[in-house]
C-alpha cells in the first residue's frame, strides 16, 4: 500500500463513510472504499481490514443500516444506507471537525495573520 498513499486515519474513517453514504445514497462496502479513495484523489488507501469492522460499529450504533441487494453487474451484495440518526451524526461530526481544523489552522498559520 505504499506508492505515497496514506492509510486512512482511524478516527476519520467513520465520518468519511457516513459522508459518502450521505452524498451517494445506498452503497456496498466495495463501492464505499472505492469512493473514498477516489474522493481523496487516490491519496488515501482504505484498509479493508478496518473498513468492515468500522461498518459493523456504525451499524451497531444505529447510524447506518444494511440489507442485501443486487449490484449494477447483477451481483448479490450488502448495501449500506444512512439512517436518520446517521444524518444527524454527519452534521454534528462535520461541525466538530470544522471547529477543530479552524483552531488548528490558527496555530499553523504564520503569526500575526488572522
Amino acid at each position: 500500500m505504499g506508492g505515497g498513499k496514506t492509510d486512512v486515519w482511524q478516527g476519520t474513517l467513520a465520518l468519511m463513510v457516513l459522508k459518502t453514504l450521505q452524498t451517494m445514497g445506498a452503497m456496498h462496502g466495495y463501492g464505499i472504499a472505492r469512493r473514498i479513495e477516489q474522493t481523496s484523489g487516490d491519496r488515501l488507501a482504505v484498509n479493508y481490514g478496518t473498513l468492515y469492522p468500522a461498518l459493523l460499529k456504525l451499524e451497531q450504533e444505529g447510524y447506518i443500516q444494511s440489507e442485501w441487494g443486487v449490484s449494477d453487474n447483477n451481483r448479490k451484495a450488502k448495501f449500506y444506507k444512512l439512517t436518520r440518526a446517521g444524518r444527524k451524526q454527519v452534521e454534528r461530526e462535520t461541525r466538530e471537525w470544522e471547529k477543530t481544523t479552524a483552531i488548528l489552522a490558527r496555530f499553523l498559520s504564520p503569526e500575526g495573520q488572522p
Binding site: Y30, Y52, Q60, S71, N73
Partner: protein, 902 residues
Amino acid sequence: MRWLRVCIIRIGGLVGKRWRDGELSAELATHLQMHIEDNVRAGMSVEEARRQALLKLGGMEQTKEACRDRRSLPWLESLLQDVRFGLRMLRKNPGFTAVVVLTLALGIGANTAIFSVVSKVLIDPMPYPNADRIVMLKRMFPQGLPSYDSVSIPEFMVWRQQTRVFESTSLFDGGPVGMNVTGGNRPVQVAGIRASAGYFKVFGVSMVLGRAYTAEEDKPGGPHVAVVSYGLWRGRFGGDPHIIGRTIEVGGSAYEVIGVTKFVTRFPTDIWLPLQADPNSNNQAHNYLDVALLRPGVTLAQARIAMKMAAEQFRRKFPGPFMMPGESATAQPFRDAVVGNARPALLILLGAVGFVLLLACANVANLLLARATVRKREIAIRSALGAGRKRVIRQLLTESLMLSFAGGILGLALGFTGIRVLLAQYPNTSGNGFDLPLIGSRGSAVTLDWRVLVFTVGVCLFTAVLFGLLPAIQASRTSLSQSLSEGGNRGGTHRSTVRSGLVVSEVAIAVILLAGAALLIRTLSALRALRPGFDPHNVLVMRMTFSGPQYDKSAGLAAAIQEAERRVGALPGVQSVALSCCIPLEENTDLPFSIQGRAPTMGPYNGDEQWRFISPEYFEVMRVPLLRGRAFTDQDVLSSEPVVVINEAMAKRYWPKGDAIGQRMSIGQGLGPEFTELPRRIVGIVGNTRESALGMAGGEIQPVMYVPAEQLGDPFMQWLRGTLSASWFVRTKTAPFAFSMPIQDALREATGGLPVAGVRSMDQVMAGTTAWSGFIETLLSTFAAIAVCLAAIGIYGLMAYSVEQRKQEIGIRMALGAQPKDVRRMILKEGGALAFVGIFAGVVAALALTRFMASLLYGVKPWDPAAFGSVVILLGAIAVIAAYVPARRAMRVDPMVALRHE
C-alpha cells in the same frame, strides 16, 4: 445512550454466530469479486487482478477476526467458554464439587440465620420512636450483687423528680396481670397492666382513637378510665367506631374506654389502666418496673449521676431499713434490660457460627489446593497446546467462582429455612421475665439479613479466589518440561505445609466448638438432674385473677378454695387441687419479717425471704414432704390462730438449733395497713423446693415461708382489689391434659364465673426454665457436629492425597521389604501427628474461650475435665478413622504397579 444500544446488540451477537459468519464471508467474497472485475477492466490479466485484489484486501481471515471481535463481546464469549468447561470439570468430579458446595453452603447458611436473629435482637433499633433514649431505672447494690429491676412506689415518686434528665417517667406492673374483661357474652382474661400516665409518652405509643390518660386522671381516686389495644378493639369489640366513651367491665369494676392504641406488636398487653399510685405512699414493696425517657442530648452517664443523687434523696426521705448500706440506683439502656440473658447466649452462638465459617473456608481452601496439585499436569498440557497464562488462570478462577456461587445460592436457601427452624426453637422469654418483643410474634420481625449475606458470601468468595488463584498462578508458572516429565506429582512440599496448617486449624476449631457443646450438654444434664423438691409429673397449672366484690374479703377467697376442692376433687381422674400465689421456678415474692423475742438485725426486721400464700392441699398436690409439725388444714382460717409453715432452708438459717416449731414471727409489719396482722406461729417445716428458674441464674435453694390463703386478711384483699392473681394446681392420676376442660369448667363454677388462663403442665413449666440452655445446646451441638464432619473430611482428604502422591515411595519401601503393617503405621502416624497438634491447639484455645460461657453454665466449670476429656477422645478417634481409610489403601499398594506407574 448509544453505548447501551451497542452493548445490547453485542450481547445479542453471542447467538447466531454461524449465520453471521456466513453473511460476512459472502460479503467479503463479493467485495473480492468486484475488485477483481474492476482490475480486469483496468487491463490486468485475471491472475494479476486476483493477486492485486487479495493484496489490497489485506488478509481475509484477519478481517473476519476483527469483525468477529467487534460483533460481540470477546471477553464474555471466553467467559462463557470457561463456564461451560468449568461445569464439565465439576460434573466430572461430583464428590469434590458436592463437598465444596455443601461446606460453603453450611458456612453461609448458618451465619446468615444466626446473624439475622442477632441483628434483630441486639443491633437493630428497637421499635419505639425514641428507643435510644428509653432507660430502665433500677436499684443497684454494692459490687458483686446483681441489680434489680423491681421498684417501689416511694422510690418512683422520689426518682421522678430528676426532671433535668428525664423528659418523662412511668411506673407500671412488672409484667402483664391477667385482667378479667366482662360485659361481653363471655368473660375473658386478657393481659393488662396498670401504668402511670407517663407510659405512653415514654414508649411513644399513639392512639388511633381517643387519647391516653392524663397525669390528672392518674391521681389516687381518679376516674376509672382504660386504654385498650388495637387487637382487643378489633377482636373483642368488633372494631366498634363508637368505643370511646363506652363502659367495659374490668375485674368487676366499670371502666370508661378513652383510647385505642395504634396497631403495635411490641407489647404483649391489651389493656392499660391508670396506676393511680399515692404520692405519699409508704408501701415499700418492689412490685413495679420504672422506665424513663431521657431528655434529648442527655447521656447515660448524666442519667446515672442523677439516679445516684435520687437514691441519696430517697435515703434521706426514708431513713431506716428500706435501703441496704451501699445501695444506690442506676439507669440501664432499655434494650439491655429487655434482652437480658439472651445477649451472652446470642453472642456465643454468633462466635460459634463464625468458627463454622472459618472451618468451612479452611476446608474449601484445602480441597482447592489439593485439586490444583492434581491438575498440574492438565494445566501443563493446556499451556503446551498454546493456552496463555492469563487464560489458564482465568479458567481456574472461573471454576472457583462457580463453586462459591453455587455454595452461596445453597447457603441462601439454608439460611432461609435455618431462620425458621431457629425461631421455632427460640424460647419465648429472655429468661428474666420479659417477653422478647424484638423478634415479633413467632419471630415474624426477623428476616434474612442482607448485610450478613453479602459479608459471608464475600468471605467465601475471597477464600475461593485466594486458594483457587494461588495454585493457578503457581501451576501456570512451572516450566512445561519439568511438570510433564515429573509426572505431576512429587514437589509441592511447600503447599502441603499450608495444607497441614489448614487441617490443624480445622481440628482446633472443631475442638473449640465441641468443647462448648460438651459443656452445655453437661449443664443441661446437671439441670435436668436437679431435683426441684416437688413432683412436677401429672400436675396441671393455670392462672386466675380474683376480681369481683366477693373477693374484697378474705372469706370470699376461702369459700372459693373450698368450693374448688369440692368440685374439682370430685372429678374423675383428679387427685387433689390447691391454690398458690406463685408458680415455682417462675414467680417470686418476698417480704421482710421479724422474729418475736429476737433483737432486730435488719432495720426493724430480722430478714427478708420468699413468701407464698397457699391453700391447705398445696403440699399434697406438689408432693412437698412435711418434715416436722403439721401442714395447713381447713381449720386455719381468718378467725383461728395465725400460722405459718417454713421450709427447711429457712429453719436452718434462722433457727440453726432446730427449735423453729412453736416460734412466732410477724411478716411485713410496718409496710402498710394491708400487712397489719398478729404474729404467726410456726406450725410446720417442709422440704426445700426450687423457687427460682433452674436455668442460667443458678436456682439456689431459698428460704420460703408459707401462709394460708384463707388468712390473708381483708385489708390485704382490698389492697389488691380485682388484681389478686394466683394459680391453681391440680394433680391428676394420669397425663393431666386429658382432664383440662372439665377442670376449667369446675373452677369457673367454683369461683363464680372467673376464667382461667395459661393452662400448662408443671412438666412444661420445668422445661420452660431450661429452654434457653436447651436452645443454645441444640444449636451448638449442631455446629459442633458440622465442625467434626468438616475436620474429618480435611484429615481424610489430606491423607488420601498424601498416599496418592507417595505411591511410588511406598512401592519402593515395600519392594525393599517393608511390611504392609509398617506402611499403615507410617500413614496413621502422619495423620495422628496432625490431629494431635490440632487437638492440643484447640484445647488451649477452648480453655481461653469457654470462660466467656460461664454465665450459661450450671453445675460445671468452664474447664470441666470430663467435657474436655471426652472431646479429645472423640476427635482423636475420628482423626484415626479418617486417616485409617487412606492408610489401608496405602497398605494395598502393589509395588510392581507403583513402580511401573510412570
